[in-house]
C-alpha cells in the first residue's frame, strides 16, 4: 500500500502539471500527462506478466532512461515494492540480492536479462526493451518487508554483499521535500542528472523532488565525456546539473564554450570530495557555482551550501536534518545524522541498522568531520566501505571473489591512491605460481560490477596477519610498495 501511495504523490503532480515536460532524454520529451498514461500502460503490462505469481517486491535492474522512470513508477502503481538495483551489478551481486532479499522477480532492460540468476521465465514487455524475469523460488523464507516500506535501494557495507535499505513513503517524500525547500527548486528548473537513479545523489536530488514541483528531469546514460555532457546540456537547457566530482574534473579540464553553461544556475557535486582546484577551474571557466551536497545512503540528503559567497565546507543542514559530531569508539570525531528521510532498516541484515544508531536515533555516517563557521567539514572515513569516486565498495565482497580463484591462498583488498591522488582498489594476493593478474581480474569481472574490479593486483608471499587473523596493514603496505609482482 505504501508503494501505491507513493505513486499517488506522483499522480497528483501529473494532474497538476499536465502538459508541462516531466522527463527528457536527448531530444525526446514526455509531458506529465504522457507520463501518467505511460505509467498506467506499463503497470497493466507488469500485472499481466506477473499474473499468477504473487510477489510484493520486484528488483528493477536497468540503465537510466525515460522508460526506467516509467517502469519504476509503474511498479509503485501496482503496489509492489521496487528494489532499485545498480545497473552495473553482476551475477554475484544479483544472486546475493535474490537470496538475501527474497527477490524472485526481476524487471530488467534487455541487455541485463542474461544476468538474472536462476531465471525460469522471461516475459518481454511491450516495446521489447524490458522484460519481467521470474526465477526459481528462493530456498529460504524471504525476509518480510517492513509494513511501511515503499522503495528499497542498496548500499555497500560490511556484510560482504549489498545491503538493502528499506524506505517508507514518508521518508522518500521527506527527502524530496527537504531538497526542494533547502535548495529552492521550482517548477522552472530543468535538472540534468548524470548519476544513476539507483544512487542516492540522483534519487534524492532529481526524481521525486522534480515531480513534486512540476519541474523537468533530464536523464543521461553512458560515459559522461565532455562532448556528450555538452550535447546533453544543449538538449536539456539545464538549470541544474547533478554529477560526481569526476565529471567536474573532466569538464574543468576541457576547453568547452562557456556560453553553453550560461543557463545553469547551479551545479551539485556529491559522493566524494571535490578537489578545490577542480572547483576553482570549473567555476572560473564556466562561471557556474558548484554547490556541495552531502548525503548518506541510510539517511538521505544532509547538507547544502545555500550561500553562493561561501566557498568552504559542505554547507548547513537541510530542513528535517540534524547533525552532530561525536567521538566514536575508536576516538574519531564522527559525523552523526538524524533526518526525516532515514531508512527504516536493512531488509537483508536484520537489526544492523537499528543497532548502529545511538540512543537519540542518530546514524553514524562513517565519515570523520567537524563544524567550522556553522558549516560541516568532512575530513575522512572511519573505515568501512571504500569510496571510489562516489561509489561505495565493500572490500570484503571483492576479497570473497578473489579468494575463490583456484590457487589463491589469501587476499586482501584495500583503498590505495594513484599518481593523480585518486582512490583505486588494490588487491594483495598470496597464491601459487599458476595464478596471474589476469585470473584475478577475470574472476572479479565475471561476477562483480565493473567498478569493484581491483585495478592493481600485487602478489605477496603471504598476507601479513596478527595472531587473531587481522591484517597488519603497515607490513602489507611495505610488502606491496617493496616491489611485489603485478
Amino acid at each position: 500500500m505504501n508503494a501505491s501511495a507513493l505513486y499517488d504523490d506522483v499522480a497528483d503532480a501529473c494532474r497538476r502539471a499536465g502538459d508541462r515536460t516531466a522527463l527528457g532524454e536527448g531530444a525526446d520529451r514526455l509531458s506529465y500527462r504522457e507520463l501518467a498514461v505511460a505509467v498506467a500502460a506499463r503497470a497493466i503490462d507488469v500485472d499481466e506478466a506477473l499474473r499468477g505469481r504473487a510477489t510484493d517486491r520486484v528488483a528493477l535492474h536497468a540503465a537510466n532512461s525515460v522508460e526506467y522512470v516509467v517502469t519504476y513508477l509503474a511498479l509503485l502503481r501496482t503496489g509492489r515494492v521496487p528494489l532499485l538495483v545498480d545497473a552495473e551489478f553482476g551475477g554475484s551481486e544479483l544472486a546475493a540480492i535474490r537470496e538475501g532479499c527474497g527477490v524472485e522477480v526481476f524487471l530488467v532492460d534487455q541487455p541485463r536479462v542474461e544476468r538474472v540468476p536462476h531465471a525460469e521465465r522471461v516475459v518481454p514487455l511491450r516495446g521489447d526493451r524490458y522484460a519481467v524475469v521470474t526465477t526459481a523460488p528462493v530456498a529460504d523464507d524471504p525476509p518480510a518487508l517492513h509494513p511501511d516500506t515503499a522503495v528499497c535501494r542498496f548500499t555497500s557495507g560490511s556484510t560482504g554483499s549489498p545491503k538493502c535499505l528499506e524506505f517508507s513513503r514518508t521518508a522518500v517524500v521527506n527527502a524530496a521535500r527537504n531538497w526542494v525547500e533547502g535548495t529552492g527548486m521550482t517548477a522552472d528548473d530543468r535538472t540534468l542528472c548524470l548519476a544513476a537513479l539507483t544512487n542516492g545523489l540522483a534519487f534524492n536530488t532529481s526524481l521525486l523532488s522534480t515531480f513534486l514541483v512540476g519541474a523537468e528531469l533530464h536523464l543521461f546514460r553512458g560515459l559522461p565525456t565532455s562532448a556528450r555532457v555538452l550535447r546533453a546540456m544543449a538538449d536539456s537547457g539545464a538549470t541544474r546539473l547533478v554529477a560526481f566530482p569526476a565529471v567536474y574534473r573532466v569538464l574543468a579540464d576541457a576547453d568547452l564554450p562557456a556560453d553553453r553553461f550560461a543557463g545553469l544556475a547551479v551545479s551539485f557535486s556529491a559522493g566524494a570530495p571535490l578537489p578545490p582546484d577542480v572547483r576553482a577551474r570549473f567555476e572560473q571557466r564556466y562561471s557556474v557555482r558548484i554547490a556541495d551536497y552531502y548525503g548518506i545512503a541510510e539517511t538521505g540528503p544532509c547538507t547544502f551550501e545555500r550561500d553562493p559567497a561561501h566557498r568552504r565546507g559542505l554547507g548547513t543542514p537541510l530542513p528535517g536534518v540534524t547533525l552532530r559530531i561525536t567521538r566514536n569508539a575508536a576516538g574519531q570525531q564522527e559525523v552523526m545524522v538524524r533526518s526525516s528521510s532515514m531508512a527504516t532498516r536493512y531488509l537483508n541484515a536484520p537489526g544492523v541498522l537499528e543497532a548502529a544508531r545511538d540512543a537519540d536515533g542518530f546514524h553514524p555516517s562513517g565519515d570523520t568531520g567537524h563544524w567550522e563557521g556553522g558549516r560541516l567539514f568532512v575530513t575522512g572515513r572511519t573505515g568501512g566501505p571504500v569510496n571510489l569516486a562516489g561509489r561505495k565498495v565493500d572490500p570484503r565482497e571483492v576479497e570473497q571473489v578473489v579468494r575463490a580463484v583456484p590457487g589463491v591462498r589469501d587476499a586482501v583488498v584495500f583503498a590505495d591512491r594513484d599518481a593523480d591522488d585518486q582512490v583505486f582498489l588494490h588487491a594483495a594476493v598470496a597464491a601459487d605460481g599458476s595464478v596471474g593478474r589476469t585470473d584475478v581480474v577475470a574472476a572479479c569481472r565475471g561476477s562483480l560490477a565493473p567498478f569493484k574490479v581491483p585495478q592493481k593486483v600485487t602478489f605477496v608471499p603471504d598476507v601479513p596477519r596478527s595472531s587473531p587473523g587481522k591484517v597488519r596493514m603497515t607490513d602489507l603496505l611495505r610488502l606491496v610498495r617493496g616491489g611485489g609482482e603485478g
Binding site: 553512458g222 560515459l223 559522461p224 565525456t225 565532455s226 562532448a227 556528450r228 569526476a246 573532466v250 579540464d253 576541457a254 571510489l388 569516486a389 590505495d416 594513484d418 599518481a419 593523480d420 585518486q422 583505486f424 596471474g436 593478474r437 589476469t438 581480474v441 577475470a442 569481472r445 565493473p450 567498478f451 574490479v453 581491483p454 585495478q455 592493481k456 593486483v457 603485478g486
Partner: protein
C-alpha cells in the same frame, strides 16, 4: 602506415591508457591481457580520462556508445586514431 609507425602509435596508445589509469595499470598489464582494456582492469573513470585524452592529444572525438567495441582494445584505439587521420602517420 609503416610497421614502425603502427608500433609507435601502439606504444603511444598504451602510454595514454597507463596515464588514464593514474599509472595503476601498466603497459605490461595491457600486454598480458592481450590488449583488452577491461581484462587489464581499466575502470570507467579511466575510460573517461582516456576518451578525453584521445580528443586532446589526437583530436579524435570518440563516442563511447558508437565506438565502444573499438575502445575495448589497444588495437581498436589505434584503428580509431588511424581512421580519424585518414590512415596517415601523425
Amino acid at each position: 602506415m609503416s610497421a614502425r609507425g603502427v608500433g609507435d602509435l601502439r606504444d603511444q596508445v598504451e602510454s595514454l591508457v597507463v596515464v588514464a589509469t593514474g599509472r595503476v595499470v601498466t603497459a605490461e598489464d595491457l600486454r598480458d591481457s592481450g590488449g583488452s582494456l577491461e581484462a587489464a582492469g581499466v575502470n570507467s573513470i579511466a575510460y573517461l580520462n582516456l576518451v578525453e585524452a584521445l580528443d586532446h592529444r589526437y583530436g579524435v572525438v570518440v563516442d563511447p556508445e558508437r565506438d565502444g567495441d573499438a575502445l575495448a582494445t589497444v588495437d581498436g584505439i589505434v584503428a580509431l586514431i588511424r581512421s580519424a587521420r585518414g590512415g596517415g602517420v601523425g
